[in-house]
Amino acid sequence: MGAAEDPARGRGMRELYPFLYEVSADPAPVWADATRSSEGKATEIVLLRRRMAELCGDRVAVCAERMAGAFAGGGRMFTFGNGGSSTDAQEVATAFLRPAHGRPLPALSLTTDVAVVTALSNDVGFDAVFARQLAALGRRGDVALGLSTSGGSANVARAFEEAARRGMLTVGLAGGHGGMLTELSEAGVLDHLFVVPSSSVHRIQETQTTVYHVLWEVIQHVLAGRPAAEHDCAAATPASSPP
């Protein structure tokens, strides 16, 4: 994600750190308040994860079972996002392709190839940067997994539309109210959507990491009892954790 789709846009430092704006010549209160602020945020993210588990834990299990089915049928996964979310897309790809334990599964992050990303952005437009790659690489039975903290990334939405046209399983992770991705979900374009109920970009990203790790765990749990698909890199031992 970037500032352009930041749900917290417009919230200044004054709101986040009111103590900064209290007049004080003594630095000690800054230290104490900064530490208290971190303690509060550490507590907030634990509660938000619990809330997310209550809200969508069962749907995560259903989605993971469908993703496992796609992999078992020879499907591959393509992941995408912008800014910090692009690093999550890369994390998901490497966690699936090269897990510390468990079965390696074919996954590719669509921001990996800078030549392709800049060529498409320069020649076609940034909104098409993931959709065009899916049009070339994706096929029926594959999985498209996209992340956007606000759900407002046009290139992520376009990618889901292309993936749906091609008969891919579509999985979205968003935050806030889910933006365009909520609309795509309601329109039946997006098969699975998990929206983190927070207005903080940071807390949304942190909760999304948990959601994709739980998806990975459940998928490995499902696949542990099945023979490897043709496209699997190898059938290895049952998993407990990604790298």
Binding site: M1, G2, A3, D6, A8, R9, R11, G12, M13, L16, Y17, L20, A25, P27, V30, W31, A34, T35, R36, S37, S38, E39, K41, A42, T43, I45, V46, R49, A53, G57, D58, A61, V62, A64, E65, G83, G84, S86, T87, D88, Q90, E91, T94, A95, A100, H202, Q205, E206, T209, T210, H213, V214, E217, V218, H221, V222, S240, S241, P242, P243
Partner: protein, 208 residues
Amino acid sequence: MSVASLEQVAREAFARRNTAGGALARDAELITRTARDMAVRFRRGGKLIVFGSGGAGTDAAHVAVEFMHPVIVGKPALPAMALSNDAATVSAVGTDDGIAEVFAHQVRHWADPGDIALGISRDGGCSAVRQGLAAARDLGLLTVALTGAHHADRADHADRAGPMTRADHVIAVASTDPAVVKEIHVTTYHLLWELVHVFLEQGGEALT
């Protein structure tokens, strides 16, 4: 396999995050101290050099974009670079000099003594991150390590960080599950970014 049992797997996986997540609050003061020291370096013109291998390389990229492109409009961009992003250099150094050299080589050719090195290794055992931090320390950089629990049965903070303890600041997540460690690392570097800006805005005595 019934869907009900998969729901149980998912619920248990979510719940496994609670303990390590709650323990982060105990590191709040350490995070404040680390952010203050980072702010001092930024104030003097230093830049942030971040590195990690595998999944931790994606965290390094996340940290760099966090500082270079602030999510809060109006915050200044601060200079940061992720050494794991350059696949050509990483694979060249890795092939010729060994994988343990990939970050140390770049640190030696990019770093100034006033910079900050942030190394990320979820189990503390990554030789490339350890050598990257060692090269940074030799050059006089502020060194910060993000790691996980070294041994689950050791409560001692220094032991948890294992071989990365020689960094100036070691923030060690209380978990040996690399997925959980990653999740807490994301919160940790988000807090570091926020507090660096708090200290830079405060300036003056807070940075002395």
